[in-house]
């Protein structure tokens, strides 16, 4: 059995940042990720990130991942790749896969940075070949250089739907429609405008009714919505061979549940997620969370939350003094506050504050 100070599950921006922050103060850190490539979502993000300069805005996503990796290497953080963490058991014992079968590791503190899962829509035809999540299409195009099809209907106009649509265009694929149930675009206007300039049609107040085809997607039926209710007689049919679902993400909380962390439901952050305090510590005092698992946000906030959890865990293990930790944590929280301001961020700021309040009220909603 392996032993470590801090075990981090997930090598995305949150997990890697947590590892770097804790290792900087001398903690022994092990990071495990089931992907063979570290970096989480970052490794398929070929676009230049928005955000602040401190968070590498203007830099393409995968390069941010590479930078984080270099830092973990310089600090000699151990990163195990290619196998999942299967479960967390009593006394912070975790089981994980390896080439030699299941292994175990005992950690003094755990940081769960498992990210989020993509949601799907169950409609007629949604099991046909050619229907996939936007993230799957993005992986095909950006990592494997394979076109999922030639005419794509994108369902959802949040940033994921907008960015993946743009990347489909860059890969030479036609985006024949971006469909959005709400009367306005969900993601950032600048991302939508890239598509508009390319002549991609937006169908606002519309949804996808059904998908038709024999051995794969051939046609897609859209219908107009009035206050989210289908308007009979407004059905229209588009020719397409691929449907991408970009209909939100749900935090991956299975391991947190196993670790006994109390949950709370916050729809605006993706659904059910572990309660946590201002140090990202859950109701299990040995388990911290960071990134999309604690509410679906962005890479920049994931990195800051990772740092926060890493420092708090190292502090709890005595690697830095309370004063020293307080100073660093305050600086991180201030940066998180600026990231969560403005037209789009305020809702997330409020929801995050609510989680911390619930935590201190003993989990009462």
């Amino acid at each position: 059995m392996k032993e470590t100070d801090i075990l981090i599950v997930g090598a995305g921006p949150a997990g890697l940042s947590a590892g770097i922050a804790a290792a900087k103060h001398g903690a022994k850190v092990l990071v495990i990720d089931e992907n063979r490539k570290p970096g989480g979502q970052l490794f398929k993000q070929i676009h230049k990130f928005f955000g602040s300069r401190e968070h590498n805005a203007g830099v393409r996503g995968f390069r941010i991942g590479e930078k984080l990796l270099e830092e973990t290497e310089a600090l000699q953080v151990e990163v195990l790749l290619g196998y999942p963490v299967y479960g967390i058991f009593e006394d912070n014992l975790a089981l994980y896969g390896s080439a030699n079968g299941v292994q175990s590791v005992k950690a003094k503190k755990l940081i769960l940075a498992t990210g989020a899962n993509e949601n799907n829509l169950c409609i007629q035809g949604s099991t046909l070949p050619g229907v996939m999540t936007a993230g799957a299409a993005q992986t095909m195009v950006n990592l494997h250089h394979v076109q999922p099809g030639s005419r794509v209907v994108m369902v959802g106009s949040g940033n994921v739907g907008l960015i993946v649509s743009y990347q489909m265009l860059q890969a030479g694929i036609d985006v024949v429609a971006v469909v959005e149930a709400a009367p306005s675009i969900g993601g950032y206007g600048v991302h939508a405008n890239k598509l508009r300039r390319a002549g991609v049609p937006f169908y606002l107040s519309h949804t996808i009714n059904r998908i038709m085809g024999e051995d794969g997607v051939q046609q897609v039926e859209l219908v107009e919505l009035d206050h989210f209710k289908p308007v009979p007689g407004t059905e229209m049919i588009l020719d397409a061979d691929t449907v991408c679902m970009a209909v939100g993400l749900t935090p991956m909380v299975e391991l947190a549940r196993m670790a006994g962390c109390q949950m709370v439901e916050i729809p605006s952050l993706g659904g059910v997620l572990p309660l946590h305090d201002e140090d990202m510590c859950t109701t299990n005092p040995d388990v911290y969370i960071a990134g999309d698992i604690s509410g679906v946000e962005e890479a920049s906030t994931a990195m800051e939350e990772g740092r926060l959890a890493g420092i708090a865990a190292a502090e709890a293990l005595g690697y830095l003094s309370t004063e020293c930790a307080a100073q660093e944590k305050d600086a991180i929280r201030a940066r998180l506050n600026t990231l969560r301001s403005g037209d789009f961020g305020q809702k997330r700021a409020d929801a995050k504050e609510q989680i911390v309040n619930y935590f201190h009220q003993g989990g009462k909603q």
Partner: protein, 154 residues
């Protein structure tokens, strides 16, 4: 759009090439601020504020165009000749258009506006795979043309 603080004033447009920052939503983003060597762009400590363009400082160099992750910065040169203007925009598709080629210029929503000629295509390692394409167009379309229709059209 006119009230956006990144849009140059009509007077400034008369005076030569200038950046035009079409960033209209308060999102947390500020790489443009550091990109400008002339310090003509200000976002400030509150990084969700809209970028403000100082038209007196901006010399129209175009460096900021490739630094905006939203691809929302353009460069406008109203009086390139007596009848034509230049519009520069970021371009991230392959193949790149060729200098001298006739192209169909399009608006913010991809609609055809007018024919134009590619006056330059700039690439550089520091642009990190975002090219700057400049088209020469009839002057009256300066505030409408923001891109070109790609090969085959849409």
């Amino acid at each position: 759009m006119e009230r956006t603080p990144g849009i140059p004033t009509p007077e400034r447009l008369e005076q030569g090439p200038v950046a035009c920052i079409e960033c209209v939503q308060c999102i947390p983003c500020n790489p443009c601020e550091a990109a400008c060597p002339q310090k003509a762009i200000t976002v400030g400590a509150e990084i969700t504020a809209l970028p403000k363009l100082d038209g007196d400082r901006c010399n129209g160099c175009g460096i900021c165009i490739t630094r905006c992750p939203g691809l929302a910065i353009f460069r406008l040169h109203k009086h390139y000749t007596d009848t034509t203007a230049l519009v520069s925009f970021p371009y991230e598709y392959v193949p790149l258009p060729e200098q001298g080629a006739s192209v169909r210029c399009s608006s913010r929503d991809g609609a055809f506006v007018c024919e134009g000629v590619v006056s330059s295509v700039r690439t550089a390692p520091t642009f990190d795979h975002t090219a700057i394409v400049t088209v020469e167009i009839p002057k009256e379309h300066l505030m409408d043309v923001r891109g070109i229709q790609r090969k085959g059209g849409q």
